[in-house]
């Protein structure tokens, strides 16, 4: 078996396009997921028990089922309910955002738990409304504490985004398998695909670890 990586240069543009799509999906789903995650975390603290239960059920369901089936459900089933086709980009973004929201709500919740009861009492004493309390008191502290884990969740979404290749979304994974099938050279192609993912994700995990240490030091003061 001889290996030849040189033919891959022909596909350089295809790989870059795929990576671009992967990054685009990741960034959109990450942004929506953060907002949705924070809203979910607030809903889970609601005074209305049914709201709490529904939010908890949502989170548990998205965390307790394979992402692949969520993608299939959104791509194949949701359009039947909606009466219109979603298209694979919309389905991919929707799925990754809904899933991202569920995992990030847990991160926010952990961050919120560290905010003491006394702060809520202080908000009450100062006559702050629920909205001001959520955005000016809870969010800044929860966000700072949760930031490293949220970024890790973002890296997680980056990796999970490879699954949308299963519904024909032309991102890095899909383009990689297509090239691999067309050239019949899985070893070279799949190794390069893995390396591209690694080259993006690994430095990010290092950066998150560094940031985490800094934040911990800051909070310790």
């Amino acid at each position: 078996m001889t290996f030849n990586f040189s033919f891959l240069t022909r596909y350089q543009d295809a790989f870059l396009t795929g990576l671009g799509m992967t990054l685009q999906l990741t960034l959109i789903a990450f942004s929506i997921g953060i907002v949705w995650g924070f809203v979910l975390a607030l809903l889970r603290q609601s005074r209305l028990a049914p709201v709490r239960w529904l939010a908890a059920l949502y989170v548990e369901f998205f965390r307790g089922t394979p992402v692949l089936i969520q993608i299939f459900w959104i791509f194949y089933c949701l359009p039947i309910f909606l009466g219109t086709d979603l298209g694979n980009f919309a389905a991919a973004v929707l799925c990754l955002s809904l899933y991202g929201g569920a995992i990030m709500s847990e991160t926010f919740r952990a961050g919120m738990k560290s905010i003491g009861r006394d702060q809520y009492d202080a908000c009450h004493a100062l006559g702050l409304g629920p909205w001001t309390r959520a955005t000016s008191v809870v969010l800044p502290q929860a966000a700072l504490r949760a930031l490293p884990v949220l970024l890790s969740n973002g890296i997680g979404i980056f990796k999970e985004s490879s699954l949308v290749s299963a519904i024909g979304m032309a991102e890095l994974m899909f383009i990689g398998t297509t090239i691999s099938n067309r050239t019949g050279r899985p070893v070279e192609v799949l190794t390069v695909v893995a390396l591209i993912y690694f080259v993006v994700a690994f430095p990010l995990t290092r950066a998150v670890t560094w940031l985490e240490k800094r934040i911990l030091r800051r909070l310790a003061i």
């Binding site: 089922t65 394979p66 692949l68 299963a166 994974m173 398998t177 799949l190 993912y197 995990t205």
Partner: protein
Amino acid sequence: MDYDFQFHYVRQAWPLLMEGLKTTIELTVAANAIALTLGFVIALLVLSKSRLVRAPFALMIEFFRCTPILVQILWFFYCVPILFGIYLDPLPMGILALGMNLACFNAEAYRAAIQSVPREQLDAGIALGFSPAQRIRYVVFPHAFRGALPVLITNGITLFQQSALVALVALTDLMYVGKQVATQTYRPIETFTTVALIYFAISFPVSRIAAWVERRLDTARA
């Protein structure tokens, strides 16, 4: 919305789905068995004093953690036979791929737990004349296993969910059977919802157990 739900087809396909679930469970249990043992060994190697031993295993862990598991599965199915001349049936190959992935995640959990083994206990092991192997077996492992247990269980359930990806390389697990049934009956809503509920019915109680174990360990430590 006036969709006419028909669970009749799903009921008909139930034995097939259970057949698929059996494969999913086999994958999960076997991969966990590999990862619980191999993960500990990798953790020990990563904590080795020799850089030469440490470096390759640290790189391996990072590689498995920083690439999508789907790429890893495809890599095992398409590249391992060519590179190493290892031809396995789909099920053992799936177990190998998932087991290696999980082993690397578990190694991280073990590593953190091993580092928290109190120095005095190791010293006591030496004082009692334990050989290094005995110290690992009787002092380090029980401690590390206990400390890492909540994360090990969580990783185990995550793998149960991730195992659905082997459906994409045509291994007939629950996900694959579900996709087939959905396509053949034109009833994706009923089928995919049922399949999702089956996954949920297993992973949710186990995640509760993990949370319970974690609380218990926390109280034991406090």
